[in-house]
């Protein structure tokens, strides 16, 4: 299988992001990667069916994200009282208890950043499948990569498990659909992000027709 379409206006170089060694960019076959000749770090790689996979997994993640906000994560029964945990519920509880910054952090890291990354991937990679770039796609892609380290979906899931252990002593707790949907969001997002190499995405954006 062949490489992705590359811009042909001048000789292409890549520099290793770790040791800064300059390489001439050569096309790599699907499923293969180019490594730095000096330090061995991966320069870029050609993922199989990258655009289709990114778009499909991002769409799945977006649908699951809706379920996350409709159904509770945990349901707790304690002394005739029943309480449900939702993502936004946890954030608003912190805000009403005078910890506004922590509430904002939860919304940011588990709702806003993931949703922005997911919709960004759909917006950028969907039109790229037919060789088009959506208006402002480069700006969207730029922010997508900048926000990536701040996506903490999987960390929140670990937090739910730890809370479950803490609560097991005082109450009866059940997993809700929201928990499983959020686990799905985590898996779909991880697969989507890993489906396309940064170099490929930007090369495709550069040659795409507006």
């Amino acid at each position: 299988m062949s490489s992705w379409p590359q811009p042909t206006n001048d000789r292409r170089y890549s520099a290793c992001h770790f040791c800064d060694t300059l390489h001439e960019s050569l096309p790599v076959a699907e499923g293969k990667a180019a490594h730095c000749i000096r330090c061995g770090a991966v320069l870029y790689q050609n993922r199989r069916a990258s655009l289709v996979r990114v778009t499909a997994f991002s769409l799945a993640a977006l649908l699951l994200m809706v379920l996350v906000h409709v159904f509770p994560f945990l349901t707790m029964d304690a002394a005739t009282l029943r309480r449900n945990l939702t993502l936004l519920g946890a954030a608003t509880a912190l805000m009403s208890e005078n910890a506004q910054l922590l509430g904002v952090a939860i919304v940011l890291f588990t709702v806003l950043v993931p949703v922005l990354i997911i919709s960004g991937m759909i917006y950028v990679c969907g039109p790229l499948m037919i060789g088009r770039s959506a208006p402002g796609a480069r700006t969207v892609a730029k922010w997508m990569y900048r926000l990536e380290p701040w996506n903490m979906v999987e960390v929140f899931l670990l937090g739910v498990l730890v809370s479950l252990m803490k609560l097991a002593k005082v109450a009866e707790v059940h997993f809700g659909i929201g928990f499983w949907a959020f686990a799905g969001v985590m898996l779909c997002m991880a697969t989507a992000v890993a489906s396309i190499d940064r170099g490929e995405l930007w090369d495709r954006l550069e040659v795409a027709k507006p």
Partner: protein, 217 residues
Amino acid sequence: MTPGHVKAADQNLACCSTCGRVAQVSLGRCPRCGTHLHLRKPASIQTTMALMAAAMALYIPSHLLPIMTVMELGEVTHNTIIGGMMSFWRSGAYPIAIVIFTASILIPLVKILALSWLCAAATGRVKPSPTMLGKIYWVTELLGRWSMVDIFVVGIMVSLMQLGNYMTITPGVGALAFAGVVVLTMFAALSFEPRLLWDRLDELPAVPLPTPIKPLS
């Protein structure tokens, strides 16, 4: 510089930090995505060290101050991160105790130590062992976010435990300090410039190649 390898910076070429495009640094902005071009991240070591100093300053109060306050049947107890971990350990929930210990105590400390060591290596104060440096930087970048787990636990507990007189949990100042530690160390890792480590290595005479040459596959 090892013969046969040319550095992008020596040719006045900058690798865009956002899209990876290699372009003349004199252009100022990346021709593809518009990000500011630098040969190296500006004032990287100073920024990293400053952020880490702030993180270390917050690390101590984050473990001394309560992260949440539990009111159970009129009885008030203040919970710290270490206290929560100890109670899991005593009740026999060893896996959870180990998770909390790793995420909240070990990772921030290891991150602060590793980044200090990387900064020392980048300024030539310690002799770098290049095969390890890469792995250390990769680990610090990867692990940082997991420390947030305790903040999320506080959010979940506060949200669920609003049972009036029976049991009410309110967040404490320690949680805010700890969130500060996590965010600051994450920014510190992002502002570090790993290429400085290799620049330092090039200045040392007769350093063997760190890894065997791999052909482009």
